[in-house]
């Protein structure tokens, strides 16, 4: 593998056939490839998320990052877009699911696609990746420290998301969960509750909780980055993708 790839900003169709911005990275050193939808964290469609997409492509998977804040803030810088979207109540779950559905369709239409698509999300995107897996047909689902999966967010804030643990009976694919032992949202107790629900629903899943890591341990340009957890996490991710979408 040469790690060769192409990466471009594109337009894709999301919820309600709305045209939204997205970042697409595609491997150029393999004939056929599996794919992954990368759901950005609450701070937005930023440079570090695009870097994650390129890492997937460098390792043989097409990766597509929909700009979930495009409708609220087209063309704005990621931090301004995130602030605007937060003040506006966040991304509604229905819109998120529609945008991921559009991303799945786009990835499957690529020349070279093997027809298999996974999703991954970080932080708020972890919850959204799991939500997408419960409402859409995917081949693998990865949740990186998604909060408010088993408990509702505080009621006195503008973001009106709800816990989604009640939907795991509809999970369409194997789930990989990567968490930090020092995280409080989700806490290890909360990920245990999710694990129990998955067992009861008869779903296939793998959870890893890394000691010495808190929230956002993959975020490699911020103080929350934990090199050991991140490196182990990436190994888990690529092993999972080999099993599910390669």
């Amino acid at each position: 593998m040469t790690h060769n790839l192409t990466a471009d900003t594109i337009t894709m169709k999301g919820q309600n056939d709305d045209e939204i911005e997205a970042y697409l990275a595609v491997p150029t050193d393999v004939e056929h490839f599996g794919s992954i939808v990368v759901i950005h964290h609450m701070p937005g469609y930023d440079e570090s998320t695009k870097e994650i997409a390129r890492k997937f492509a460098a390792n043989g998977y097409a990766a597509l990052v929909p700009n979930l804040y495009w409708r609220q803030a087209p063309g704005a810088s990621p931090d301004d877009a995130a602030a605007t979207t937060r003040a506006g109540g966040g991304v509604p779950d229905e819109q998120l699911v529609g945008d991921v559905a559009g991303a799945i369709a786009h990835l499957k239409s690529l020349p070279g696609s093997n027809g298999k698509v996974a999703s991954i999300g970080y932080c708020s995107g972890g919850r959204q990746s799991l939500l997408a897996g419960c409402r859409l047909k995917l081949d693998g689902v990865i949740d990186c420290y998604g909060a408010f999966v088993v408990v509702d967010p505080p009621s006195d804030n503008p973001i009106k998301w709800k816990a989604i643990v009640g939907e795991v009976g509809n999970l369409s694919a194997p789930l990989l969960g990567l968490f930090g032992a020092d995280d409080q949202f989700p806490s290890p107790e909360q990920t245990e509750i999710l694990a129990d629900a998955l067992v009861k629903a008869g779903k296939e899943f793998t959870f890893r909780t890394f000691e010495g890591a808190g929230h956002a341990f993959f975020w490699n340009d911020r103080p929350s980055y934990r090199v050991d957890a991140a490196n182990e996490g990436w190994k888990e991710i690529f092993s999972f993708l080999e099993r599910t979408v390669a």
């Binding site: 931090d79 937060r86 932080c123 998301w161």
Partner: protein
């Protein structure tokens, strides 16, 4: 974590943004991931003018201690401002 906790309020203000000075109409205050301040979480303040678009924004990312000190300094300054000037500024 993403706390999602957000205080929102209307304000009458001006702020210097990346595009120069602008009138601001809204503010949000939250404790969450900063973009620039070197910590996992910070007290965030956004001054916004939604009618002018997402870039009509001036942002602060503060340590909790700094945020409290700033809040106290603001209140102290208002409490000790010369009598009569506050009414003038509010008009």
């Amino acid at each position: 974590m993403c706390t999602y906790q957000t205080e929102m309020l209307k304000v009458s203000a001006s702020a210097k943004t990346a595009n120069g000075w602008m009138r601001m109409t809204d503010a949000t205050v939250y404790f969450d991931h900063p973009v620039h301040y070197p910590a996992g979480h910070a007290l965030m303040v956004d001054l916004l003018n939604p009618s002018e678009g997402p870039s009509a924004r001036a942002a602060l990312e503060l340590s909790p201690e700094s945020a409290r000190a700033l809040a106290e300094a603001i209140l102290h300054t208002l409490d000790t401002a010369p009598r009569g000037l506050l009414d003038e500024l509010a008009s």
